[in-house]
């Protein structure tokens, strides 16, 4: 029997715990926030529709899988342009304009370098560094082994270093 009240409470909890991760994940894949916010809606609607068949411990993996599949349906081969808000500029005080300019330039380079990373490498790297997901959590959510996550992280950092150093 469907218990709508409990289902709604469960749904809200899952939403609160996962919304940002899933939205960001689609953003890391697509570089398109409008698409990410549209697709994340579909992901949670699917969660609601399939709620009777989802096990508690695999909920997040389900969300990531649906998000990934949803994104591949809309995938377009294009150059990514990921944009991140740098809170440093909102908090900074009494810094010289030269220093700020240097930070801004580095910021620009890093954003471009991250956008150019291979898809798997990029998403795993950002889920760890921006969303603070552990290697284990990423492995469980995206359906890869923890070893593979470690490997992708090392690869991402190596590629970024290479690009930044080259540009500097």
């Amino acid at each position: 029997m469907i218990d709508l009240v409990n289902d709604r409470q469960w749904f809200k909890t899952v939403f609160d715990e996962n919304y940002i991760y899933i939205r960001n994940y689609i953003y890391y894949l697509s570089g398109d926030m409008v698409l990410a916010e549209d697709l994340v809606q579909d992901v949670f609607v699917q969660l609601w529709e399939h709620r009777a068949r989802i096990r508690h411990e695999t909920t997040r993996a389900f969300l990531f899988t649906v998000a990934r599949n949803g994104y591949f349906k809309h995938r377009r081969r294009q150059t990514l342009d990921l944009r991140f808000k740098n809170l440093f500029f909102e908090q900074v005080e009494n810094q010289s304009p030269e220093y700020l300019l240097e930070i801004r330039e580095f910021d620009e380079k890093l954003q471009k370098a991250i956008s150019s990373l291979p898809e798997k490498c990029r998403t795993i790297f950002l889920l760890n560094r921006i969303d603070g997901m552990t290697y284990r959590e990423i492995a469980e959510s995206t359906g890869v082994t923890q070893k593979a996550v470690e490997k992708q992280m090392t690869k991402a950092m190596a590629l970024l270093r290479e690009q930044i150093d080259r540009k500097i």
């Binding site: 940002i20 808000k85 740098n86 809170l87 580095f106 890093l110 560094r129 921006i130 970024l160 270093r161």
Partner: protein
């Protein structure tokens, strides 16, 4: 150099965040809206025929409901009476400034009506025939009767043939041929003898015959019929009127009444208010 770059990257990224265009709360509200609007979003192929069958049943039921319930509304804004034939072949003479809603259920053959104004009914024999009006209901089976009910403050039911049960919130009374009741503020007065064709004559000609009727009754009927407010001063309230009175045109009615009953009046059209002064 490379370790330094790595540290710098890590330090730099620690200040980053992803900014969406909507907050999680806004996103959740949108999802909830979708879930409410799309309770059945996707179906498995096996359940599609069930859906089609259910849709066919619903359409059939809607069709049956429409067929079963023949309903309508008749508004007579003129001053002359109109003859209306109801779906069950009952006949209604609907007086001017009156409105009648009706519903006929073909399955149960029950007939229910709502009247605001004045009408004379020649009811075809059959199942229950119920007329609702401000302040009560009239239930009959195959008969002729008249109802005057412009508002809850004054009404009248006359039974011309057969039996009629008149109900108000407080009381009910069964009228037989040649009897009538008055309903004032939910209270029944009567039964008293009535002339057989009184209401039909009224409905058709607009002429009312009153026998020693308190002036307050006449003004209650007029105010309901023409939609104005009136307060009859105590110096006038015990005066009684006898005779014929045309009641289709308000100015004509007031002119005759004021001369016969010796009062003056002012009618404020913007407020729809009538003020009376005894002479």
């Amino acid at each position: 150099m490379t370790k330094h770059t790595e540290n710098r990257i890590n330090e730099h990224i620690s200040h980053w965040e992803v900014r969406g265009q909507r907050t999680p709360e806004e996103a959740f509200a949108l999802i909830e809206k979708r879930l409410e609007g799309e309770k059945v979003v996707r179906m498995r192929p096996a359940s599609r025929w069930i859906f089609s069958a259910a849709a066919a049943v619903v359409l059939l039921l809607i069709g049956l409901f429409v067929w079963m319930n023949d309903s309508g509304e008749q508004v007579n804004n003129t001053t002359a009476a109109e003859t209306i034939w109801l779906p069950d072949s009952s006949k209604v003479e609907l007086a001017g400034r009156s409105k009648l809603k009706y519903r006929y259920n073909r399955l149960t053959r029950s007939r229910s009506l709502e009247l605001r104004g004045e009408a004379f009914f020649s009811v075809r024999k059959g199942k229950s025939f119920v007329v609702g009006y401000p302040g009560g209901t009239v239930t009959v089976r195959g008969t002729q009767f008249g109802v005057v009910a412009y508002s809850g403050s004054y009404g009248q039911v006359n039974c011309v043939e057969g039996k009629v049960e008149v109900q108000t919130n407080l009381k009910s009374v069964v009228l037989t041929q040649g009897l009538g009741v008055r309903i004032q503020e939910g209270k029944l007065a009567g039964p008293f003898p009535v002339s057989g064709d009184e209401i039909i004559v009224r409905a058709k000609t607009g002429r009312y015959h009153w026998d020693s009727t308190p002036i307050t009754d006449i003004f209650s009927l007029l105010s309901g019929k023409f939609g104005f407010e009136v307060k009859v001063p105590t110096s006038l309230s015990d005066r009684k009127f006898s005779g014929d009175l045309p009641m289709e045109k308000l100015d004509e009615t007031l002119e005759i009444l004021s001369v016969a009953m010796q009062f003056s009046y002012r009618f404020d059209e913007s407020k729809m208010q009538l003020t009376l002064d005894a002479q």
